[in-house]
């Protein structure tokens, strides 16, 4: 007779000392883990609830400006340094880590229209309503009146500025588009198309000869510094306020439009936008891309911030506080973790880019658990209960009501179009897609 009965040596299963960790033998045999689907569903439900519970995106507020914040500028290499310009001509340098203002000075007479860092990050240029471009040195925090390193007086009004990614060149916009070199006081190139003034200009961060501007004749103009004139122009139904290039895809940019929507364009096919991002209920004022190029943040006149995924039509997140007024400028920090917003009521606010993310160092087990719940949420995302909870957002009453109103308006338009279609000759009232609807014409 040969017999063997299970006997386990307790020493192999118990820890030796109290300082030791507990031994946890694993056996992944599916028979020992019943109800896999139901348990995973429960975990997914719990984690999606926890996500909403921990969604506290507001990090802090930087106060100090005496007028509304007009523009924000991120440092290209220091995460903690941010510049802000106000409507009263004051520039403030902020340390985000300490949430303090390191220096402030009156830079321009009138509104500050734009601030950019030079490619090295040592100097920054600011433009204002006083037709000047001033170059300042960062870290020159001697209290009292600061003097610019250089002041250029332009012949035309300047409303925006953007710096080349690598070379010491920057572009300004206003009545016309100028290209400047840092060392020279005269523009090296001038681009002009039509008579309308430009509101915003942005250099492409990848294909660094390209830049785009939005004009007051409701158009977006594309320039190439290697060509003699502007490349092409696309007209939209309403004016574009700001635009932002995708930092990972050289060919796409997103623009914030007056008609409550954002449009993502591919410069190869400017005739139709690749995507229309709806959800705001008033004009969108500013937009900025995340450094990953997968998402962007937009600030609107409806006192809310929304985060969109690039390939989705609706926002994944909305941020608002009672005290925050109309948004004027937005920024997504270069570590992909924070969002900075400047608004009318003189405050700069710091938000988390992912509302329920835990800040600080994560231990490996914590990280693994978060990854696991993230995977589960994705797996069960289509379940009605989970979908409902993860989608649910509390919005202010004025947004809620405006949304309902917009919905009725849209229904009305659709109904009217359908009626027209039903009562006219076949093909006389064609179906126009939402993407094509907002573009008027393209000029080359």
């Amino acid at each position: 007779m040969k017999v063997k009965v299970l006997t386990r040596n307790p020493d192999e299963y118990l820890r030796e000392t109290k300082r030791d960790i507990h031994k946890v033998p694993r056996n992944y045999d599916p028979a020992l883990h019943p109800f896999e689907a139901a348990r995973e569903y429960t975990r997914a439900l719990n984690s999606v609830k926890l996500e909403r519970m921990f969604a506290k995106p507001f990090v802090g507020c930087l106060e100090g400006h005496k007028d509304g914040v007009s523009c924000l500028c991120k440092h290209p290499s220091q995460l903690s340094t941010v510049l802000s310009g106000a409507f009263d001509g004051e520039i403030r340098v902020w340390n985000l880590a300490y949430r303090t203002c390191t220096s402030n000075f009156l830079a321009h007479d009138g509104i500050i229209r734009g601030i950019v860092f030079s490619q090295s990050g040592e100097n920054f240029m600011s433009v204002g309503d006083d037709k000047t471009i001033k170059t300042w040195k960062l870290g020159n925090s001697s209290l009292g009146q600061e003097e610019p390193i250089n002041t250029v007086i332009s012949k035309t009004i300047i409303t925006g500025i953007s710096h080349h990614q690598i070379r010491p060149i920057f572009a300004t916009c206003g009545e016309v588009c100028h290209l400047w070199e840092e060392t020279r006081n005269e523009p090296i190139r001038t681009f002009k198309w039509g008579v309308d003034s430009l509101y915003d200009i942005k250099y492409n961060p990848v294909q660094s000869n390209l830049f785009a501007a939005c004009a007051s004749d409701r158009s977006i103009i594309l320039y190439d510094a290697r060509e003699t004139g502007p490349l092409q122009k696309v007209f939209m139904r309403l004016r574009t306020n700001k635009l932002s290039w995708n930092p990972m895809e050289a060919v796409t940019f997103t623009c914030a439009n007056e008609d409550y929507n954002l449009y993502t364009y591919d410069i190869r096919t400017l005739r139709t936008p690749v995507n229309v991002h709806m959800d705001h209920v008033e004009a969108v004022i500013d937009v900025d891309y995340s450094p990953t190029g997968k998402e962007f943040v937009s600030g609107s006149y409806d006192k809310s911030i929304r985060i969109f995924e690039v390939n989705k039509g609706h926002s994944r997140e909305v941020y608002h506080t009672r005290r925050m007024q109309r948004l004027t400028c937005m920024g997504w920090s270069l570590d992909n973790k924070y969002i900075i917003s400047g608004s009318d009521e003189m405050n700069i606010r710091l938000w988390k880019a992912r509302a329920s993310e835990k800040l600080g160092v994560l231990r490996p087990r914590e990280k693994a658990a978060l990854n696991y719940s993230e995977a589960l949420k994705e797996k069960f995302a289509a379940h009605p209960q989970i979908k409902r909870i993860s989608r649910h957002r509390q919005v202010p009453k004025h947004i809620y009501n405006a949304k309902a109103e917009i919905r009725t308006i849209r229904e009305k338009v659709n109904r009217k179009e359908a009626n027209k279609r039903a009562h006219s000759k076949k093909g006389a009232v064609p179906f126009v897609s939402e993407r094509k609807r907002h573009v008027v014409q393209q000029k080359v």
């Binding site: 017999v3 009965v5 507990h22 689907a37 348990r39 429960t42």
Partner: protein, 525 residues
């Protein structure tokens, strides 16, 4: 350039059986020709996911290399069979720690009912005459011993070894491991069978009057309780893979119950006489039933088909129990026989003659032990190869410390499965709910083809030229018809069109997915 002596590291090959054991199904058809997914991007995403799934299956199968313990076994010498070996012989041939696990307690308050905890470490026993004891049977350390001064009909552990439920003369009581009465559940009246569903935290009971009740022990609320209308519930077990209760009745029918419906989910006519005992395989594949006419049948309860096997044994089987490895113990009078599956047939493996009639029986999880309660005590038998040798420390751990137990309790509570999810198919929640979606589309479609009401329309007589005429009348009629159709559609939309269909049609049952129906529909159940 690869360095000299470079050899590609091959991963350890995995046998096909192991892969099949961990297999998660065949996956989605993504071949360009036959696939039904037209979008290329989605197809690509799914392809990546399939790769991850396949890798997971391979990796989990490969981890079996790391398992440390091996199954117990009993092999007969030439000319002998395993059935002839007595417990005495086995005890003599095993090491001292294993031999210590074979013991007999002679007690006077019998007949005894026993239950092991889920990790197999603790044992609770209840004697018909009121004796209750809880003990760590490995170290033989007694946790508590009381006499409840009432008759006892069944005992059951709750989710941890600090609490157990006892079905007494009238009501069910919950005691802690010091014997202190924690709760008296008067809503569970004259209970004859208790079962605990560990992942749902439900204490299920079947009563002498045929009532089934489910109590959520984590929040103390009754999930459901109703009369099952099968008469006295004397045979009740749970299916460990889907938490459905299998109740055997006097007519030979085994019915399967979930707390979500007052009708059984399924009924199987297993015997032509009373079902005397019923046991479900831990994998949820087979169910064994027995009958006083000495027959034992094995059923496939995933397909609800069978019998797969049917046997006649020498005496009527009164108790059945499945071990973790699929061995089947049958108790007939004072004889216990253990059968095991060998080449598609159940063969007798071991036999034991107890001193007294066996009144309850359970295989101890993660041990080669079969515990039996008799009319005059409790004893444990060594059945080599019956227990799973490698436990999963996060699922159930026989060597659990107090702090580990506390942590595991919290974790288990977080993962508590809602009672609505109890249904025959345990993976229903992970499947695509096509039926509800189809119904939704159908309802929308029907709205379009609503037949317009007949309009009784009589035109005014006008004598003015050009105002009357048949063409004009037909045109007006058409407009009115369209108007009335639109009106009814609007009305239907506002008054929740689905509630109307409910009245005309009997409510369709989606089982587990009923929870996603709109609330107005749910009330009708």
């Amino acid at each position: 350039m690869k360095p000299a002596g470079y050899r590609r590291r091959e991963r350890v090959p995995i046998s096909k059986e192991k892969l099949a054991k961990h297999d998660k199904g065949e996956g989605i058809d993504l071949k360009a020709k036959s696939t039904r997914i037209k979008n290329k991007v989605i197809r690509q995403k799914l392809k990546k996911k399939e790769v991850v799934y396949n890798d997971t299956v391979k990796d989990t199968a490969r981890t079996e290399l790391l398992l440390t313990e091996d199954y117990g076994c009993l092999e007969a010498d030439c000319g002998e069979v395993t059935v002839q070996y007595k417990q005495k012989q086995i005890v003599d041939n095993v090491d001292i720690t294993a031999a210590a696990k074979r013991f007999t307690l002679n007690l006077e308050f019998g007949p005894y009912y026993i239950k092991y905890t889920r990790n197999g470490r603790h044992l609770v026993l209840g004697g018909r005459k009121g004796h209750v004891a809880a003990l760590d049977w490995v170290t033989k350390k007694l946790a508590c011993e009381i006499n409840v001064m009432e008759s006892i009909h069944d005992v059951s552990w709750l989710h941890i070894e600090t609490m157990f439920a006892v079905a007494q003369k009238d009501w069910v009581f919950i005691y802690d491991n010091q014997g202190i009465e924690l709760h008296c559940l008067k809503a569970m009246y004259k209970v004859s069978r208790l079962e605990f569903l560990p992942y749902h935290f439900l204490l299920a009971s079947g009563s002498k009057e045929g009532y089934l009740a489910w109590l959520d022990v984590s929040i103390g609320k009754f999930v459901n309780s109703f009369n099952s209308k099968v008469g006295k519930i004397a045979v009740m077990t749970q299916n460990p893979t889907n938490a459905v209760l299998c109740v055997g009745d006097t007519k030979g029918v085994v019915s399967m119950w979930s707390p979500n419906s007052k009708n059984p989910l399924a009924k199987m006519l297993c015997h032509t006489q009373t079902v005397a005992a019923c046991a479900v395989h831990p994998y949820g594949t087979y169910m064994a039933t027995s009958c006083p006419d000495r027959s034992v049948k094995i059923w496939d309860i995933r397909q609800l088909a069978g019998p797969m096997h049917s046997y006649y044994v020498r005496a009527p089987v009164e108790h059945l129990s499945y071990s973790q490895t699929g061995q089947l113990a049958m108790a007939m009078g004072n004889v216990v026989e253990v059968y095991r599956l060998s080449t598609d047939e159940m063969k007798p493996y071991m036999r034991h003659r107890a001193d007294w009639t066996v009144t309850s029986m359970q295989f101890c999880p993660y041990e080669d032990i079969l515990g039996i309660g008799t009319t005059k005590g409790v004893s444990s038998l060594l059945i080599p190869g019956s227990g799973e040798p490698n436990f999963d420390g996060l699922e159930s751990n026989p060597f659990q410390t107090k702090s580990q137990r506390r942590e595991a309790e919290v974790k288990a509570l977080l993962d508590k499965i809602q009672p609505e999810l109890i249904c025959l198919d345990p993976v229903a929640i992970a499947e695509v709910d096509t039926s509800t979606f189809e119904n939704k589309i159908e309802a929308k479609k029907n709205l379009l083809y609503l037949k317009p009401k007949n309009i009784d329309f009589k035109p005014r007589r006008t004598k003015a030229k050009g105002k009357g005429g048949t063409a004009k009348v037909i045109k007006t009629k058409k407009i009115l018809k369209e108007l009335s159709r639109k009106e009814t559609i609007d009305m239907l939309r506002q008054t929740d069109s689905r509630s109307d269909t409910r009245k005309t049609k009997p409510q369709k049952d989606y089982g587990i997915l009923n929870r996603f129906l709109p609330k107005s529909n749910k009330k009708s159940n």
